[in-house]
């Protein structure tokens, strides 16, 4: 197991290097650079001498391989560069925004699972029942709903029409709440963004749990378990679910990077200061060091999620042994 983990981690190094080269190269290939920011209005911005000086300071005139190596070296040693726009270290800016995003992703993930597993199991157990049809219908609708539209509709309904939930941010700005009251305030602010973020994930996981359960419930050993007089509950929860969970785990773990990407829209609509919005702002302003930093984190997340999924396989299924 340890050898396997070591091998996987070592193998991900060239993978990450490859990704970083592609990401770096793609950004360089986009038209316009951080210092050729155009727009409307006749006024000049920085004068040519200032641009020259900044290009020099940020090493933008060095050959690309040199730029890449100095950037990649910085990533490894913990110097992720400085934002062109705010003059702050990239790592510091990302660290500022990370907590809000982690909170959103974490909650959305847990809630997706909490919905998908029971709904999927019940739908599979009672295939072709009304419950099954409703669950299937709702999850397809969830798939098909664009999250920005869903978010705006929730806002319209619960904030503007009914006035039940606050429309933006993570806390009440007019007064400070403490204790239980503070917790409730936070929950009120999180309901809608987490719902939007969890929608697609919950919908797809439900489908997977249901399909996987159906397949397992058809197996001989389940019939044997039933035939040997075990209560249905034990059959489903102990014998079927564990086997059905194996394919679901892959999908679930890989949903985490997807949630990460989904935050861009959710955070913008609900004014939450997270990484997703930082990414959009930086892309808007061509703040390459920050963009690259976020892309590195996203790639790390995808690679790690893959490793974790594989490891979970082994834990769940003794037949899979990694040597």
């Amino acid at each position: 197991m340890v050898t396997y983990l070591t091998r996987r981690l070592l193998m991900s190094v060239p993978l990450l290097i490859g990704i970083s080269i592609v990401v770096f190269g793609l950004l360089q290939a986009t038209p316009g650079g951080p210092l050729s920011n155009g727009g409307e209005g006749a006024g000049a911005q920085l004068n040519p001498e200032q641009i020259e000086r900044l290009r020099d300071e940020y090493g933008l005139d060095d050959p690309l391989p040199v730029q890449y190596l100095s950037w990649a070296g910085g990533i490894v040693t913990g110097d992720w560069g400085t934002s062109l726009r705010t003059g702050r270290p990239v790592l510091e800016m990302i660290a500022d925004r990370l907590p809000a995003t982690l909170l959103l992703i974490g909650l959305a993930f847990v809630i997706s699972l909490a919905i998908a597993i029971p709904v999927g199991i019940v739908a599979a157990r009672r295939q072709h029942s009304t419950f099954d049809y409703v669950a299937t219908g709702v999850s397809f609708a969830g798939f098909a709903t664009p999250s920005f539209w869903f978010g705006l509709m929730l806002l319209f309904l619960f904030s503007y029409s009914l006035g039940w939930l606050p429309s933006s941010g993570l806390e009440d700005l007019r007064e400070t709440h403490t204790g239980l009251d503070g917790l409730w305030d936070r929950v009120k602010h999180l309901i809608m963004p987490v719902a939007v973020l969890a929608l697609v994930t919950a919908a797809s996981l439900t489908r997977y749990v249901r399909a996987s359960m159906l397949e397992v419930l058809d197996q001989d050993y389940i019939r044997t378990a039933r035939g040997s007089g075990l209560p249905e509950r034990t059959v489903v929860m102990r014998h079927a679910l564990k086997n059905a969970a194996i394919p679901v785990v892959t999908v679930a773990v890989l949903a985490i990077p997807e949630l990460f990407l989904g935050t861009a829209i959710t955070e913008t609509i609900f004014s939450i200061p997270g990484i997703g919005r930082l990414f959009i702002e930086s892309a808007d302003q061509r703040d390459y060091p920050v963009l690259l930093g976020i892309l590195v984190i996203a790639s790390l997340l995808v690679v790690l999620a893959n490793i974790v999924a594989d490891l979970l396989y082994a834990l769940l299924d003794p037949r899979i042994a990694y040597a």
């Binding site: 155009g38 000049a44 000086r53 808007d284």
Partner: protein, 581 residues
């Protein structure tokens, strides 16, 4: 430059304007004597909400802000969002007013030739500072700070992004603690644009100030508020400056919180809903929503700006592609330009695209101190056809006109992703089709359109016939007028040039050059008026319509005035704002 603002910022701002342009300068402004910058507003704009009953102390104002600036010191960034600092934290020597003129603020008076502040040759200006002004940390504000600010701006390693008016400053000298003498290399009619931000010498160690310096990020100023906190992506918090120099009773508010709400629709709806007290720069596209809410009884005060803000222009490329500046085969013909001007139904664009919140314009100068009114061409398709007939453009089999083998076809580029622009494009395409001109629509990214000559920018490399974007909202038109001169045309020799027209018109060049060096305000205004007449008769570009602009705040907020150049914002009366919930 301060007035220009980063072009990219406007990207986010849908159809029209949100960026309040600050102080682009008002040239040798009308020499009104220095007014005391206290109390509520003067009378220019509508000043609803100011003021019933006595001002209340205390309370925290909650403001929705859609764009986050990278830095908050306006001396180091061109982003409009850095205007948060203006009048709240940093204060100018001269406060720009709605009509493009100035009043003395941290200065004791406006320097004029009459009071000896401006030398006869216009090359020396003596600025006298107001007595008793203190930084928010209690240290006195003196001439040394002004001198220091200039040293920072001119330090080659600093990254100050200042108005082009600073380029003429040759030396800055403190004559005594309250007097600064500035020598210019040429007569500089924009001397009141200088010193809109002054840096505190005692709080900065070296003259090298870059984007990484703490003072570039969160400035220390003389204003009624001080920065308490900036949570990136979340909120900017200001608290009361308890030792404000103007009056220790001011400001009335305990503090202001700017909450970032990047989605405009969310910001507007939450404001209407009462979650925010006001919005940091309302956009033209927000006006229908807020006026409707106010009419339906929501407790919202909406005040429309008396003048106009940004204009939508149809830029005409007078030259063919390439550095030779050969005339454009179609638009090079004045008859075609005249026909296009007559064929566009401006009013229906205003009605359909900006919900009526706009006004037709005929002059490229329609804001600021040199605004010069010219009647826009009256929509008349038949007259347009007659002009083309007379000029020899004959209709072909497909209904498109041809002259000397040249087909009247034009491409029309605008910024992608903007539904309003797309609609305008389609309306104009139809208008021109009606008179026999074929228009092909194109869109491209903002960056690609405005990129420089060497980066392959579409404008800079004149790879367009027609183009539409916003411009023209300036207190002082000097830089803006310069864009249409020969000197601004980008070529291999002049890669940093920026032009909308690519036209060489020596008469226009001479007028702009003269206006840029004239100290007498009336004469300057006259010269700019002449440029506007020439602009219109040659149809250098076609001004289409200018958008209306306004402000909105919750009725609980009192004391708001809108007579500063930026209206509600960058307005010294913010100190008098008070909440009565």
């Amino acid at each position: 430059m301060i007035g220009g603002r980063t072009r990219a910022r406007l990207l986010a701002m849908t159809v029209v304007l949100a960026a309040g342009l600050s102080a682009c300068g008002g040239g040798g402004s009308s020499a009104t004597s220095a007014t005391t910058p206290t109390g509520t507003g003067t009378s220019t704009g509508a000043t609803a909400g100011a003021d019933e009953g006595t001002a209340q102390r205390g309370g925290r104002l909650l403001v929705a802000m859609t764009d986050e600036p990278g830095l908050l010191n306006p001396l180091f960034t061109t982003e409009a969002a850095a205007d948060v600092s203006r009048a709240m934290v940093v204060e100018p020597l001269f406060q720009p007013l709605a009509d493009g003129t100035y009043e003395a603020f941290l200065a004791a008076e406006l320097p004029t030739p009459e009071n000896g502040g401006v030398s006869r040759d216009g090359r020396t200006v003596v600025y006298r500072l107001r007595e008793g002004v203190t930084w928010s940390d209690g240290k006195p504000f003196t001439a040394a700070d002004v001198v220091f600010t200039h040293r920072v701006i001119t330090d080659p390693r600093s990254t100050a992004a200042v108005a082009s008016a600073y380029a003429l400053v040759r030396s800055v000298k403190a004559l005594d603690p309250l007097t600064v003498e500035v020598k210019m290399s040429k007569p500089n009619p924009r001397y009141l644009e200088l010193w809109d931000v002054v840096l505190p010498q005692h709080a900065i160690e070296s003259t090298t100030v870059t984007t990484r310096s703490p003072q570039a990020r969160l400035p220390l100023g003389t204003g009624p508020f001080v920065y308490a906190d900036w949570k990136s992506g979340d909120q900017v918090t200001l608290t009361r400056n308890d030792a404000y120099w103007r009056d220790p009773e001011l400001p009335n508010l305990d503090g202001i919180t700017f909450k970032l709400t990047p989605d405009r629709q969310t910001a507007v709806s939450s404001f209407v809903n009462g979650e925010f007290d006001t919005i940091f720069y309302l956009a033209n596209s927000d006006l229908p929503d807020v006026t409707q809410a106010a009419e339906s009884g929501d407790p919202i005060e909406v005040v429309m700006k008396e003048g106009l803000s940004y204009g939508s222009f149809l830029w005409l490329n007078h030259s063919a592609e390439g550095d030779g500046l050969e005339p454009n085969p179609v638009l090079g013909d004045p008859a075609v330009r005249e026909a296009i001007d007559l064929a566009i139904d401006r009013q229906s664009i205003i009605d359909q695209v900006v919900d009526g919140f706009g006004e037709q314009i005929g002059s490229y100068l329609f804001t600021g101190f040199a605004a010069h009114e010219i009647e826009p061409a009256a929509f008349d398709a038949d007259a347009a056809k007659a002009v083309l007939d007379e000029a020899g453009w004959v209709e072909g089999d497909d209904g498109i006109r041809v002259k000397d083998g040249v087909r009247a076809e034009l491409d029309f580029t605008t910024v992608s992703g903007n539904q309003s622009y797309k609609l305008v494009q389609q309306l104009i395409q139809q208008n021109l089709k009606d008179i026999g001109i074929d228009v092909k629509l194109r869109t491209d990214s903002l960056t690609k359109i405005f990129a420089g000559y060497q980066d392959g920018g579409i404008l800079a490399n004149r790879r367009y016939d027609l183009m539409m974007s916003l411009d023209g909202f300036y207190a002082d038109p000097a830089d803006y007028a310069h864009v249409f001169t020969s000197a601004s045309i980008p070529t291999a020799e002049n890669p940093n040039g920026f032009s909308y027209s690519h036209l060489r018109l020596p008469a226009f060049d001479r007028l702009v050059e003269a206006a840029g060096q004239t100290m007498d305000e009336a004469e300057r205004r006259r010269l700019y008026g002449e440029t506007a007449e020439l602009f219109a008769s040659e149809r250098i570009s076609l001004p289409l319509y200018a958008t209306k602009w306004g402000w909105a705040w919750n009725e609980a907020l009192h004391g708001v005035t809108t007579d500063a150049w930026d209206g509600q914002w960058a307005n010294p009366d913010i100190a008098s704002w008070n909440l009565q919930r």
